[in-house]
C-alpha cells in the first residue's frame, strides 16, 4: 500500500514539475479550457433546468388546469370554486392536498408609456399559497422562509400590498414601501393602487415575479360594475388563468385528471388537466429545434474544440520532449509509465481548469450577475446549479483525456534508438 502511494507521489511530482515547466503554455491551455468549459456550463445549465421542469415526477404531483383548446387560458372565476376540489362530488373522488389559482394582471406604472421599462405583470393569487404552491419558494427554509412569510402576512392584512421581485423593482426604479398607481393594459379600466410590501428572496427565479392578492384584484371588478351602472367589465367572466392542484401520486393525478375532464361543470369553455411538466413541455414544443441544436450541435462542437485545444498543447509538448522521454525509458520507465505521465499532465490541467471555470461561473452568474436573463416560455432567468461544479471537473478531465490520448500514445511509442541515432 505504502509503495503504491509512494509511486503515486513520485509520478504526481513529475507531472506537476512538467506542468510548471512551460508556464506560458500551461496558462494558455488552461485559459482556453476555462472559457470553453464556461460555454458548456452555461448551455447545460439552461438545458438541465428545462429537462428538470419537463421531467415527470413520481410523487408530490402538481397539476395545472387551464382552458382546453386555446391560449391564453381565460376561464370564468366561478370555475375555481369547484376546481379547487378537483370537481370531486363523491366520497371516493380524489381531492387535492393543496390548491391555488392564478389570474394575470398586466399594467404600466405610467399611463402614457407602455414599454418594458414601465410594465409589470402580476400573478394574482391567494397570498398564503405563495409559500405552499409556488415552485422554488415552497422549498425555502429558515430565515428566507420567515422573511417571505412576513411579506405574505402583510399582503393578507393589507389587501393592496404586493410582492415584487428585485429585478423588477430595479427595472421600475422602485423600492419596498413605495406606492404605485397602475394603469392596466390587460384589463382596460381596472386601474389599481398598490403598495410594495416586500420581495421574494433574491437569487431565485422569482427575482422577476410579482404577486398580488387575488381578493384585491377581484374586488376591482366589483368596483368597476358599481362605477359603470351595473355593467360588468367585459373580461369579468374570463379572469381565471389557471388552477394549480397538488396530489401525492401519479395514480391520484390520473384519477383527478379524468374526474375534471369528464365533469359536466366545465363545458364552455372546456378545461384540461395536465401535469405541470406536460404544460411546460407544450410551451417549449416550438423551441424544440433550438434545444436540439444546443444539445447535439453546439455543446458537442464546443467539446470537440476544447479537445483540440488540449490535444494541440499536449502534442506540441510531446514533440518537444522526445529526447527526455527516451532518457526516461533508458532509466527504466516503461511505455505505460510514459503514457500515464503524459495523460496525467493533460488531466491535471483539464480537471483543474474545468473545476475552476465551473466554480467561477457558479459564483459569478448566481451571486454577481443574479442569474442569466434568457426569457423562454414561463422562465425568465436561469441559474447555474451546484451540480455544474461536478460537470466542470468531468468535462475538463474527460476532454483532456480524449485530447491527450493520441499524443500520449505517440510518446509511449518513442523508440530510444531512433531518438539517439538522430542526436548522434
Amino acid at each position: 500500500m505504502l509503495s503504491l502511494l509512494d509511486t503515486f507521489a513520485k509520478y504526481g511530482l513529475i507531472i506537476s514539475k512538467n506542468v510548471r515547466r512551460n508556464l506560458l503554455r500551461t496558462m494558455l491551455t488552461s485559459l482556453g479550457t476555462m472559457v470553453l468549459v464556461l460555454v458548456i456550463t452555461l448551455i447545460w445549465s439552461v438545458l438541465h433546468f428545462l429537462d428538470q421542469a419537463m421531467a415527470d415526477r413520481s410523487s408530490n404531483f402538481k397539476a395545472i388546469i387551464t382552458e382546453r383548446w386555446q391560449i391564453p387560458s381565460r376561464m370564468p372565476l366561478a370555475y375555481a370554486n369547484t376546481l379547487r376540489e378537483a370537481a370531486a362530488t363523491g366520497p371516493d373522488d380524489v381531492r387535492p392536498k393543496d390548491w391555488c389559482t392564478w389570474q394575470f394582471y398586466g399594467a404600466s406604472i405610467d399611463p402614457q408609456k407602455r414599454d418594458r421599462d414601465f410594465s409589470i405583470i402580476f400573478f394574482c393569487m391567494q397570498p398564503e399559497k405563495i409559500l405552499t404552491m409556488t415552485d422554488e419558494l415552497e422549498d425555502l427554509r429558515g430565515a428566507r422562509r420567515d422573511e417571505v412569510q412576513r411579506v405574505v402576512d402583510k399582503m393578507q392584512s393589507q389587501r393592496n400590498g404586493v410582492m415584487i421581485g428585485v429585478s423588477v423593482l430595479k427595472r421600475l426604479k422602485k423600492n419596498v414601501g413605495d406606492r404605485m398607481q397602475l394603469t392596466s393594459f390587460s384589463h382596460k379600466g381596472i386601474d389599481l393602487e398598490v403598495e410594495i410590501v416586500g420581495s421574494p428572496p433574491p437569487g431565485t427565479r422569482h427575482d422577476t415575479s410579482c404577486f398580488m392578492n387575488a381578493d384585491y384584484f377581484n374586488a376591482a371588478f366589483d368596483d368597476y360594475k358599481v362605477r359603470n351602472k351595473n355593467q360588468p367589465h367585459p373580461m369579468a367572466d374570463k379572469t381565471l388563468g389557471l388552477v394549480w392542484l397538488r396530489v401525492d401520486t401519479k395514480d391520484e393525478f390520473q384519477k383527478m385528471a379524468a374526474q375534471i375532464m369528464n365533469s359536466p361543470l366545465y363545458a364552455n369553455p372546456a378545461v384540461k388537466c395536465e401535469a405541470a411538466s406536460s404544460a411546460v413541455s407544450t410551451f417549449l414544443e416550438s423551441l424544440k429545434d433550438i434545444f436540439w441544436a444546443m444539445r447535439w450541435l453546439l455543446a458537442p462542437a464546443v467539446l470537440v474544440t476544447l479537445s483540440l485545444v488540449i490535444a494541440n498543447a499536449i502534442s506540441i509538448s510531446v514533440r518537444e520532449r522526445r529526447m527526455e522521454i527516451a532518457v526516461l525509458k533508458v532509466l527504466g520507465f516503461r511505455p505505460g509509465h510514459v503514457l500515464g505521465l503524459i495523460l496525467g499532465e493533460a488531466v491535471l490541467i483539464g480537471a483543474a481548469s474545468g473545476l475552476a471555470s465551473a466554480a467561477a461561473a457558479y459564483i459569478l452568474v448566481n451571486k454577481v450577475f443574479d442569474g442569466i436573463n434568457f426569457p423562454i416560455a414561463f422562465f425568465s432567468k436561469f441559474f447555474i446549479p451546484i451540480d455544474a461544479i461536478g460537470w466542470g471537473l468531468a468535462i475538463g478531465t474527460l476532454t483532456a483525456l480524449a485530447g491527450a490520448v493520441i499524443p500520449a500514445w505517440s510518446a509511449r511509442s518513442v523508440k530510444v534508438a531512433d531518438v539517439f541515432s538522430k542526436v548522434a
Binding site: W69, Q70, S278, L308, V309
Partner: protein, 459 residues
C-alpha cells in the same frame, strides 16, 4: 448579464442581416488587403511559412479545425436568427396598417368590437377595390392547443397552432398579399362542409373548411403514418372539431406559413370570440400613407386602439430574434476567446521550435519587423483557411427548416416554421471572426519572435 441595450443591438442586427454588407465588405477588404500588403512587403519567403505549416501538419490541422468549428457554429446560429428576421420582415406589407385594441401587443390579446369596424374602414387613406369596397380584412386570431398523436404509453404532447378567422377570404388574401397554391380554393361562405362518415374525426360529420400555411401543412403531416404534408382534401383534428383542407397558402417565408385560415364566424364561435375581432388590417397606398393612417387612428374617439404599420408590428415580433442574437454573440465571442488561446499556444510552440531559424534569418539580414510579418502571416493564413472551411460547412445550413417562436416579448408569440438563411453578411462576419482570432492569437507570439536576439537564439 442584464438585458441587452436594444439600440446597440439594432446596429449589430442591421450590419449582420440587412444593409450591412457594404460596411462588412470594407472591414473584410481592409483585413484581406492588409494580408496582401504583408505578403508584398514581407521579405521572408512565404514558402518558408507554408513549408513549416506542412511539416507540423498535425498541429496545423488541429488549430485550423478549431477555427473551422467556431466559424461553422457561428454561421449556423446566425443563419437561424437571420431566418427569424427574414420571416418577420417578409410577413408585413409596407402599405398595411394593423389595428389592435389598446394595450395589446399581439393579436391573441386584442379584442375589438364589431361596431367600430364600419367606421374604421371608412377612414380616409384606406384604399378601395374595383367594386368600391374598402381594402380591410377583419380577422379573429386564436392560438389553439392541439393534441399531437403519440404512441400508446408515451407522455402526451401538445403544440400551439395559430388559427386566423377571416371575414372575406378574397379580401384577406388581397390585403395580406397572399394567394393559394394551384389546386386549392378558398372556404365557402358557410365555411363548413359535410364529410363522408369515415372521414369525420369528431362527434359530428361536419368539418370546418381550412386553408393551411405551407409550413404548417408539412408539420401536421408529420403526425401521420405516411409522413407527407397535408394536401387539399385531407382532414385533421383541432379543438373539438374536424377540419378539412381546401387549399394551401403560398406563404413560404412569412409567419402566415404556420397558420390555419378559416371562416371568421366558425373560428369565433368555436373559440369564444363570436362577437369580437382581433384585428383589422387596412391597405393604404404605401408606407408613408400607412404611417399617416396609423397616427390618424390613434385619435379615434369611440374606442381605444393600437394602430401601427404592419411592417412595424412584425419588426416588434422579431424581439425573440434579438434575444437569440444576444446569446449567440456571447457564445461566439467566448468560443473565439477559447480559440485564440489555442492559436497562441500553436504559434508560441512554432516559434520555440524555430528559434534557430529566426537567428539565421536575423543574421542573413532580415529586419525584426519582417520576422513579425512572417509569423503574423502564418497565423492569418491558418485562420483564413480554417475560416473558409467553417463558412463552407456553415453554408450547408442554408435552407434548412427549423421551428421557433417569434414574439414581441413575454406572454405572446407565434409558433413558426422558418428557413435558415446563410447570407453573405453572415459569411463575411464568420471570416472576420476567424481572421480576428488569427490576428489576436498570432500577434503576441510574433512580437516575441521579433524580439529574439540573433546570437542568443543560435546558442
Amino acid at each position: 448579464m442584464g438585458p441587452p441595450k436594444i439600440a446597440a443591438f439594432d446596429g449589430v442586427v442591421r450590419v449582420l442581416f440587412f444593409s450591412g454588407w457594404k460596411e462588412l465588405s470594407v472591414v473584410l477588404g481592409c483585413f484581406l488587403g492588409l494580408m496582401v500588403l504583408l505578403f508584398l512587403i514581407g521579405k521572408v519567403p512565404v514558402s518558408y511559412n507554408v513549408r513549416n505549416l506542412m511539416i507540423r501538419w498535425k498541429t496545423t490541422v488541429m488549430t485550423g479545425l478549431a477555427f473551422t468549428l467556431v466559424v461553422a457554429l457561428m454561421t449556423v446560429m446566425l443563419a437561424f436568427v437571420n431566418g427569424m428576421y427574414k420571416l418577420t420582415e417578409k410577413s408585413g406589407q409596407p402599405g398595411n396598417v394593423i389595428v389592435l385594441s389598446e394595450g395589446a401587443t399581439d393579436e391573441s390579446f386584442s379584442v375589438l368590437t364589431f361596431v367600430d369596424s364600419a367606421d374604421i374602414e371608412r377612414e380616409p387613406g384606406v384604399l378601395k377595390n374595383d367594386a368600391g369596397a374598402a381594402l380591410c380584412s377583419k380577422e379573429v386570431f386564436v392560438i389553439v392547443n392541439q393534441e399531437v398523436p403519440v404512441p400508446q404509453g408515451e407522455k402526451p404532447r401538445r403544440r400551439f397552432v395559430q388559427v386566423r378567422g377571416v371575414e372575406e377570404p378574397d379580401m384577406a388574401a388581397t390585403v395580406h398579399g397572399l394567394k393559394l397554391k394551384a389546386g386549392g380554393q378558398w372556404f365557402s361562405e358557410a365555411g363548413i362542409e359535410e364529410l363522408e362518415p369515415e372521414a369525420a374525426k369528431s362527434a359530428t360529420n361536419v368539418a370546418i373548411q381550412a386553408v393551411l400555411g405551407h409550413g404548417l401543412a408539412a408539420e401536421l403531416g408529420n403526425d401521420r403514418p405516411e409522413n407527407r404534408p397535408l394536401a387539399t382534401g385531407d382532414t385533421f383534428s383541432l379543438g373539438a372539431r374536424t377540419w378539412k383542407v381546401v387549399g394551401i397558402l403560398d406563404s413560404t417565408g412569412s409567419t402566415f406559413d404556420s397558420e390555419v385560415w378559416a371562416k371568421r364566424a366558425r373560428v369565433g364561435e368555436d373559440f369564444g370570440k363570436a362577437n369580437v375581432f382581433s384585428s383589422y388590417l387596412l391597405r393604404t397606398s404605401g408606407p408613408q400613407a400607412a404611417e399617416t393612417l396609423a397616427e390618424q387612428l390613434k385619435g379615434y374617439k369611440k374606442a381605444p386602439l393600437n394602430p401601427q404599420p404592419e411592417t412595424k408590428y412584425f419588426q416588434l415580433q422579431a424581439e425573440t430574434g434579438k434575444q437569440f442574437l444576444v446569446a449567440i454573440i456571447i457564445v461566439a465571442v467566448v468560443m473565439a476567446v477559447g480559440g485564440v488561446f489555442g492559436v497562441m499556444n500553436t504559434m508560441y510552440a512554432a516559434i520555440s521550435q524555430r528559434t534557430k531559424d529566426i537567428g539565421v534569418l536575423r543574421i542573413l539580414g532580415y529586419a525584426r519587423w519582417q520576422i513579425l510579418v512572417s509569423f503574423l502571416l502564418e497565423s492569418l493564413v491558418l485562420a483564413l483557411l480554417g475560416g473558409l472551411l467553417g463558412c463552407a460547412i456553415g453554408m450547408l445550413a442554408d435552407g434548412l427548416s427549423a421551428r421557433s417562436v417569434v414574439s414581441s416579448g413575454p406572454g405572446g408569440g407565434k409558433s413558426v416554421v422558418l428557413q435558415m438563411v446563410v447570407s453573405r453578411e453572415i459569411l463575411m462576419s464568420g471570416l472576420l471572426l476567424s481572421l480576428g482570432m488569427g490576428a489576436i492569437g498570432g500577434f503576441l507570439p510574433a512580437v516575441s519572435a521579433m524580439r529574439l536576439r540573433a546570437l542568443e537564439s543560435l546558442r
